[in-house]
């Protein structure tokens, strides 16, 4: 007879006499018995029904039709509604999308309303596609170019300020103490701690540390979209940082005044040319260590 069959019947206490004899002859017989016996050592702690009921009685009071008459069921219903509402809220919040670019890479993103965002290197953006239909609002860090579809207000939140637009093309650069917004089409409102500025087509606002400069710009879109970086009277240290982001390298300077202002640009496809474009105007010497992803600029 099959061992498992016997065990099954034994567990059900349905063994016939013959089956019982066969069961006792199984090699595991002693172990089988021991397991059932052993279970008893794990018995639940004693429960004294009489004692416990005495305890319980103290808590049983008859429902008084009175002042605070919320029956438990009503409370459960209210709690249930709150829980569903909160779950819905958390569920929607959890659908937030966050996108980031590493150094040396750019990325184009299409938003639910058809607006376009292009992220520059080492930048990130965060938005909630579910809430997008109600409110076009996103958070951004780094640099991005926006092409906004006509519609409701479109907000870009950065650490340095908020940029609000309606149907327009603009660039927002928010890197630590460097904040720059350029408007290429339409109207852009920029709100920073220091001031609020309305930019029309061809205008840009630059806030470096606390210095605010509003300028005219000729270009119709940012250079970095075409893999070039361009600067106008920007401190050298900011230029160097952008080089680091585009090429994913670390630049160390020796005896260089990085507060000097730089006007010019570099491309994103040739590291040596890019470094020359920065170093030459200041007469700096450079050393490139590609394997270590390091560049040294020295002023000697």
């Amino acid at each position: 007879m099959d061992k498992n069959y016997l065990i099954e019947k034994w567990l059900k206490s349905e063994l016939t006499e013959a089956e019982q004899k066969a069961f006792e002859k199984l090699p595991d017989y002693e172990l089988n018995q021991k397991i059932i016996e052993g279970a008893k050592q794990f018995k639940a702690p004693p429960f004294s029904t009489a004692e416990e009921y005495k305890h319980l009685k103290k808590h049983l009071t008859h429902k008084k039709k009175g002042f605070f008459n919320l029956s438990p069921y009503k409370i459960y219903r209210i709690a249930a509604i709150l829980i569903i509402a909160l779950s819905g809220y958390f569920f929607i919040q959890s659908k937030t999308i966050e996108i980031a670019t590493p150094p040396g890479q750019k990325l184009s993103i299409s938003l639910p309303d058809g607006s376009l965002v292009v992220l520059n290197s080492a930048s990130s953006l965060k938005y909630n596609p579910i809430l997008w239909r109600l409110k076009r609002s996103l958070e951004m860090e780094g640099e991005a170019f926006f092409k906004v579809q006509k519609g409701s207000r479109f907000d870009v939140h950065t650490q340095n300020g908020i940029v609000s637009v309606v149907g327009t093309q603009f660039d927002v650069k928010s890197r630590n103490q460097y904040f720059e917004v350029s408007c290429f089409e339409g109207v852009v409102k920029v709100v920073t701690k220091r001031k609020t500025e309305i930019l029309t087509k061809g205008k840009s606002i630059q806030v470096i540390k606390d210095k605010v400069i509003v300028r005219h710009i000729e270009k119709t879109k940012p250079e970095w979209l075409e893999d070039q970086s361009s600067f106008k009277s920007v401190p050298l240290e900011e230029v160097i940082k952008e080089l680091e982001r585009q090429y994913d390298v670390k630049v160390t300077t020796e005896q260089v005044n990085t507060a000097q202002l730089y006007t010019g640009g570099f491309e994103h496809h040739n590291l040596e040319q890019a470094i020359k474009a920065i170093a030459d105007p200041f007469g700096l010497k450079y050393t490139i260590k590609l394997s270590q992803k390091r560049v040294i600029l020295s002023g000697r």
Binding site: I7, E8, L11, K12, D28, L31, N32, K34, I35, I36, G38, A39, K40, Q41, F42, K43, A44, P45, F47, T49, E52, Y53, H55, L56, H59, L60, H62, K63, S71, P72, Y73
Partner: protein, 167 residues
Amino acid sequence: MLKNLCVEKIFAAVYEKYAKDLHDFLYYKYGNRDDLNDIVQESFIKLWNLCDKVLPEKARAFLFKIAKNNMLNRFKHEKVVLNYQKNIPNQINHETPEYLMEEEEFYKKYQRALSKLTDEQRVAFMLNKVEGKKHKEIAEMLNITQKVVEYRIYSAFKIIKEEIKNL
């Protein structure tokens, strides 16, 4: 007059009938916890508060459901641990240290095995083999068929045996 849970005598009888079973069920399902008695109490309090809305025949199902929900709110996903009596009956004092150690090992493995069972397997197995409840009773308590009860007990047994045989 209809039999009504709001009548104390009837409520007390329901308590007498189900309190221990509910307690044991919770113990075997969720393991050793300080709040088991509290949960049993709370379940009955809730039943009392709704005594005019719950029929006596539905009381058992109600109590078990309330207790499970209550537990789910408190339950941290820890392994379920049942305790065993550490004193393997002291009448046998002349056992050798080796024997005592083997027994200890056996129970340790057993405890691990019980933790590895699903709640359902463990509850069915323990209620049947330790509390002596018939398959039919267990089926009613848990609102499942007898066949399912048999299957869970069988599975539990196999798993425990497997674990004990392993080194």
